[in-house]
Amino acid sequence: MMRDRRCWSCGVGVADAPFCPGCEVIQPPDAGVDHFALLGVPRGFQVDRGRLEQGYQERQARFHPDRFALASATERRHSLEWATQLNTAWRTLRDPVLRGGYLVRLLGGRGEGSTASGGQAGRADMNDGDPEFLMTVMEMREELAELSANPVGTGERVAQLRQEIERRIATELTGLEKALTRALAATSAPVLAEAERHLDHLRYHQRFIEELERLEEELA
């Protein structure tokens, strides 16, 4: 979609160009552009890591504030906006859980915002409809608490726990990918409940891993 936009500096029409075709001055970024388009990678749950990194680095090399250290205040501000947006996009797309949540939001689901309520949501939303998952999670948590209380000589059990949680994460990620692929291909309004459920589980597991890591650190 082309935008009807004029250069803030010389008034020439610039459409979507990041630099004015007339005076070549940097333009503000389009806040509405999605992370995939911004970094030049195809929209989907699987992202080519090399392509993502290259897209990110090439764009930072053009827009980063260090490139505008001697430019005017307005140019520096736009460069800051570009670099900030690029960093947000890169951080989101390189992490599968953040990326999954972002895709769900792009498709109109609740996703996970980068907001506090979002951060808390994982905890609060676990109550309904998933007794089996809740059961397993509680068991693993109990074991972790037990090991943390008396960590001496628990190296092997901690390693087993790590294997189990990693296996569970891999399973959830596979499920998430399937659900998202279906949703992305849907011709009518996509069903996102499945993807959202996997995301909730994954966030739960991530918190568990953080606590497990604290214990591993103690043992190391």
Binding site: L70, W90, R91, S114
Partner: protein, 625 residues
């Protein structure tokens, strides 16, 4: 001619957004280290080099001696004076930067809490902030550079440990300001090191930089590709370094010498011997130590490397956890690492090298001088930021070293910008009110990884006012953190339904206040070095004023407690002090303040007794039970 013109070839004129300079700017990179400091610049061929002093030494000991009269003495001479004047000679001042009294070990110095909570050190008969002491070191380097480059500096890139928090960074910036240096950028030490390494060999891939300096430990994971130096993660401990190894060894010597309460002189001597032994052990299997006991008899011992390693192994091991955490934050496995670079003089210790090789499962790279590599990298970045270099061949992408968050209910921290987020960054978090009709919300910004507010560093507090009355939980307050490419934080809060907004550029509550810096600066700029003396004179006058005022109010209240002779004595002392205030001898004023103090001690005592009697008179005994 000291201006080099950059003439574009026809048809290749610089683009407007490609700001190529018209002249080459005199800029330097400065490594302001705990034990040594260095200054480097890039030559016309694009090669960075450290600048030597007149004796040919590039490393300036970060030691400042303050004689009672005259200016500060910096470097090797100060180091020699440390033995005879231990308390007036400040070493490792970097440990005190941006720190409060409770954060630091005195190490034999006379400390007190200064304004803004930052520690102050008594040296050369005056309380000094670590910022001022660091500025003296920077000043020495600046002079060296200006002589070598033939003119005043346009600016400098100054390095800090990656793990320095906001208060420590701000203190470093303040020191530069005070030394009259324009800071182009504070760059993290490991990043600067990687810059020097990467450019030196045209290396690509993912590298770990393990930087164990005199007083700080840093680990950074960086990715080098196509001229972009991207920091993936950093970690470390800003209070762990080579000094700790010296102290450990010095403690052993003092214990064996039977010195339970070492004087500052004992400490200096023991630490000096310890440092020499430690350095000796990097190349030899044993080192011998000679010190004098308090009774004059010699203390002598041999120490071998194995014993030293056992004594300090917990220090070496303490670097492991930050390394593992940084790798994890970077999302990088050991197999993906291209290499491990060693930085900092303390990485010369064989035990450290063995530990690093074991931790990262490979032999570390040591082909650049670990003492110089940080300054060299800083010089390269300074050259880039000054526009001396073609702007498209190098870019540094850095991260926030510590998480930034907000205090929530119960003193808990809600992280808004997680550590190792690439900067610049902007992150928002929504909060709500917890009481019906709550009209204001306190925003408390903190930095650190711990979960409780009191375990993190407080950066700023402000209040969002004017929230319209709503039931608890109905307001939506979005707090946005924006960190720019320099790592400076701006926080704004906005109530979403009404648009009420407050914002604050975060200056750490620690460190020097704006006014204080400005005052110090004005003094330094307007009159040169002598004016710090003028400032102290002014401070002494203010102090005298305060003392006189207090005494006058006491006399107004309790003159009846004095007989005529006593009154005359006090009045004479007051007149003498007023006389001294009219002159400009700061020390004379201070002396007269003390004399007046002595002349009025009995009066103060008498007033106190009198007041106590007054309070007790007319009360029943039961009141005191």
């Amino acid at each position: 001619m000291d201006v080099l013109l950059d003439i574009a070839e026809p048809g290749t004129a610089p683009k407007p957004h490609d700001p190529r300079p018209r002249e080459r700017r005199r800029v330097v990179g400065i490594d302001l280290g705990t034990t040594f400091s260095l200054v480097a610049a890039v030559d016309l061929q694009g090669k960075p080099a450290c600048m030597p002093d007149s004796a040919g030494s590039v490393s300036l000991p970060s030691i400042v001696h303050y004689p009672g009269v005259g200016g500060a003495v910096v470097g090797q001479v100060a180091r020699d004076l440390a033995i005879t004047h231990p308390q007036d000679t400040i070493a490792s001042v970097k440990r005190f930067m941006g720190r409060g009294l409770t954060d630091v070990a005195a190490g034999g110095y006379r400390l007190r809490a200064g304004s803004g909570g930052m520690v102050q050190i008594l040296a050369g008969e005056r309380w000094r902030s670590p910022v001022e002491i660091s500025a003296n070191i920077l000043d020495e380097l600046k002079k060296r550079a200006e002589e070598a480059l033939g003119g005043p500096l346009h600016g400098a890139v100054v390095t800090v440990p990656a793990y320095f928090d906001d208060a420590q960074r701000q203190a470093t910036k303040d020191a530069c300001l005070l030394a009259g240096l324009e800071v182009l950028r504070l760059v993290n030490e490991p990043t600067a090191a990687a810059l020097a390494y990467g450019l030196d060999r045209g290396r690509e891939g993912i590298y770990a930089v393990y930087d164990l300096g005199g007083g700080t430990f840093d680990i950074s994971i960086l990715k080098l590709a196509r001229g972009v130096f991207q920091v993936l993660a950093t970690g470390g401990n800003s209070a762990l370094g080579g000094d700790d190894f010296d102290h450990r060894l010095a403690e052993l010597f003092l214990k064996e010498m039977g010195i339970a309460q070492p004087t500052p002189g004992d400490l200096h001597a023991a630490r000096r011997a310890a440092r020499q032994a430690k350095e000796g052990l990097t190349t030899s299997a044993t080192a011998s130590v000679r010190l004098d006991r308090p009774d004059g008899s010699p203390y002598q011992r041999e120490i071998d490397r194995a014993a030293f390693d056992v004594l300090t192994q917990d220090l070496v091991r303490a670097t492991g956890a930050p390394c593992r955490r940084a790798l994890k934050d970077a999302g990088v496995t050991l197999e993906e690492l291209q290499g491990v670079v060693l930085v900092g003089g303390s990485t010369r210790m064989p035990a450290v090298r063995v530990f690093v090789a074991d931790l990262f499962k490979r032999e570390p790279l040591v082909d650049l001088d670990p003492d110089q590599v940080v300054a060299l990298g800083a010089a390269i970045q300074a050259d880039v930021l000054a526009g001396n270099r073609r702007t498209d061949d190098l870019l540094l992408l850095d991260v926030t070293p510590l998480s930034l968050g907000l205090e929530t209910m119960g003193g808990l921290v809600e992280k808004v910008v997680p550590r190792n987020s690439p900067i610049p960054t902007a992150r928002a978090q929504d909060f709500t009110t917890f009481k019906d009709g709550q009209g204001a919300m306190a925003i408390h910004v903190v930095q650190g990884e711990r979960e409780m507010v009191d375990q993190c560093r407080s950066l700023a507090r402000f209040e969002l006012r004017g929230i319209p009355p709503m039931v608890a939980g109905a307001a939506r307050i979005r707090v946005t953190f924006q960190v720019d490419a320099d790592g400076l934080l701006t926080v704004s809060a906005r109530e979403q339904t009404t648009g009420v907004e407050q914002s604050v550029a975060v200056k750490p509550t620690y460190g020097l206040g704006d006014g204080e810096i400005e005052r110090m600066l004005r003094a330094a700029l307007e009159h040169g070095a002598a004016d710090l003396d003028r400032r102290h004179l002014q401070e002494a006058r203010v102090e005298a004023e305060r003392v006189l005022h207090a005494l006058l109010s006491a006399l107004a209240a309790d003159r009846s407690l004095l007989n005529a002779d006593e009154m005359a004595t006090i009045e004479a002392a007051m007149t003498i002090l007023r006389g001294a205030m009219a002159g400009d001898d700061q020390r004379a004023i201070q002396e007269k303040i003390q004399e007046l103090d002595r002349a009025t001690t009995f009066f103060a005592q008498r007033r106190m007794d009198h007041n106590i009697r007054n309070v007790m008179t007319g009360r029943q005994l039961t009141d005191f039970e």
